[in-house]
Amino acid sequence: MMRARKKGKRILFLCLFLCFCLPAAAGCHGHKGLEPFVVPEDFDESKQYEITFWAKNDTNKTQTRIYEQAIADFEELYPNITVNLRLYTDYGRIYNDVITNIATNTTPNVCITYPDHIATYLTGVNLVVPLEGLAEDPQYGFGGSGLRYDGPGPDEVIPKFMEEGAFGGHDYALPYMRSTEACYINKTYVEKLGYTLPDVLTWDFVWEVSEAAMAQDAEGNFLVNGQKVMIPFIYKSTDNMMIQLLRQRGAGYSTEDGEILIFNDTTEELLYTIAEHAKSGAFSTFKISSYPANFLNAGQCIFAVDSTAGATWMGTHAPLSDISEEKLVEFETAVRPVPQFDTAHPQMISQGPSVCIFNKEDPQEVLASWLFAQYLLTDEVQIAYAQTEGYVPVTTAARESAEYQDYLSRSGEDNELYYEVKLTATELLLNSTEDTFVTPVFNGSASLRDAAGQMIENTVKSTRRGETIDEGYMEELYRDITALYRLDTGEKNGLSASEKADLGPMPLMSVLLLAGIAVVWALMLLYVAVGAARRSFRQKNRK
């Protein structure tokens, strides 16, 4: 039972791609790229359409089966549409593959994605289909008369989630599932250390308990677990950690139009605190140590922060586990929102897969893509997929359905479908939807997110290596991160989605590249023309 640590292999360096290949790809379709998509009047059912769907699962066989079943059911409804599924377990790899395929005009039709990533895709002209026209279409839109399935009505996609895919004046993404982060807690150890677990955790509480858990006996065994290993607090996604810390403190991250604000005094203060607890060994991260669940379930961690979509891995009796039976430790698992600074006004990130549709030359193919994308919002798919992890459906129809309400009411009935930790994580999000937030989306926001996490990773690593974390360190860190993630491209970073219509002049390198391509084409055509002329001349002479 293993979840591999994989990033990717052999791709072109992304920045090079973004600089050269997207403009070049746009150039392949003329300077303006593909024609803007216009919703056809009717769907042509006399023609066969083959569409590709790049999906993400959480290394979860049930999710794979749900995708496959959804495709089979959809194809039965629409026999002239074939959907080819390609599975990923990582949003980053989908992002990279999409960018690679933009250059060859082989993007998928339907793609699970994050809005941050769409902002990058929008660098290519008309590459991503704005969905509002499709959603409002009387025949094929939400609640449309021409649909062969019972999709969500016009007001049934939860507006807050729909807004997360809206930028630059358009809806570019449909929400598919939503999750947030949760803190999975070894309550048994918290109480053993003499603390009472509050309903809402504060950062101070988590740090204090974590430090208390570091006490060891003369042989180096931790008192709380009797083992040689204890990392009381492990955070899976440090980009989320930094984003939420800053948000909760009211500190800068970025503006809506891409101005980078993250390099501020609050960030520095937060990093000093993190360094303090990394130094004692009370805090680590997924990238540095491993999955929080592995340590939690082995009794080597007390506060494990991971997605609610990772709930089935958390706890002694979790249905999924990466560690062997003999390493499992019996304890009571509690689930709480991520730690807060202000418990009266909790704030947590909204995440989870969205779906975008890529434009194609044939509008009918795009319409076929939309029909499938919308099918993913039917109650059947929404409820089935939401049950696989601590996800929540994105439609009120699915949420309010008797089937889903019955599911929620059966928490703890078994350690599979009704696994209590998963259901508690789900309830956490259902009850906190209004406390969730997302970060601004602009071309470069994906890099900023990576940068946010990398500042924590670097600080923790440096601390563990005995480096001094002081003002000088922070200055260098800010400088390094700025350069690494190319956050120094002016006051505003890249293009906000709202500005994408005015791309300005092409970079010189792109102009040269396109000119080169044009020259090569001209030479090829010249060669063909001369060859044809010669053949014609010879034939004439033979006659």
């Binding site: 039972m1 990717g8 979860n60 377990t89």
Partner: protein, 246 residues
């Protein structure tokens, strides 16, 4: 005169032979400031390490970072995400000697060198597979972590069930949630104990002989294998060769 010529010829051959084969002579020597394998093992986690080692296999190159299986004559070093241009990555053929400066780290039980830089040096060494079959399940096995190893006469067990409930010999990803081209997981047993082995798809993609061979396995087959003794929450070899047991 003939004898002298023969002696010279024999001497020349000896020199040539030393330079050929696995080149183990070079693998004995460490430059100044470079750790021996024993010193590397003794070094604390998070401390800076400098080793001279030889590329045995390349797993992946990603945004100017390379992940390598390397080894000298004493032990192995898994090098994760080492700074490396694509141009340099191409130079890292099997046996290439490299001097690596990085930090010793542990991730889920896998001891590795991270945040590393490297330089190519003169020298060549290709490790022979070390038979660790008898060490499976023992505490000694971890001493061979990351080395190129072999397993002999192991029996293929069911890795899981397909949708129809039939036992299958391998899975795409650990739970069968993947597709062709993803990591393959399969179970093999020896002396009543079962172990999970992996064909790591970045190391050996779906077009490699080993990937194809694992997909052709049947439960009950007896096989010999070679691969790298990777660790993830316990032993999790990355298999590079599968053949019917001799």
């Amino acid at each position: 005169m003939k004898k002298l010529a023969l002696l010279l010829l024999a001497g020349a051959l000896a020199v040539l032979c030393a330079g050929c084969g696995n080149g183990s002579g070079d693998a004995d020597k460490k430059s100044e400031g470079v750790m021996t394998y024993e010193e590397y093992v003794a070094a604390d986690l998070e401390s800076q390490v400098v080793v001279e080692t030889y590329v045995q296999a390349k797993q992946a190159w990603w945004e100017d970072k390379a992940t390598l299986y390397t080894q000298d004559k004493d032990g192995a070093y898994f090098i994760y995400d080492m700074a490396c241009s694509e141009e340099d990555y191409e130079k890292l053929t099997q046996g290439t000697k490299i001097k690596v400066t990085g930090y010793k780290a542990e991730w889920s039980g896998e001891v590795e060198i991270i945040d590393a830089t490297f330089e190519i040096e003169d020298g060549k060494y290709v490790a022979e597979a070390k038979d660790v079959t008898s060490q499976l399940g023992s505490d000694d096995l971890i001493k061979s972590q990351n080395q190129f190893v072999s397993f002999k006469g192991m029996t293929v067990e069911a890795a899981g069930q397909d949708d129809a409930g039939n036992d299958v010999a391998y899975l795409y990803k650990w739970d069968g949630s993947g597709q062709d081209g993803d990591d393959l997981y399969f179970n093999v047993s020896k002396d009543g104990n079962t172990y999970t082995f992996t064909v790591e798809s970045y190391l050996c993609d779906k077009d490699t002989d080993v990937y194809v061979a694992v997909k052709a396995l049947n439960i009950g087959d007896t096989i010999d294998m070679e691969g790298f003794l990777y660790w993830y929450e316990g032993v999790n070899p990355h298999i590079t060769s599968v053949k019917a047991a001799k």
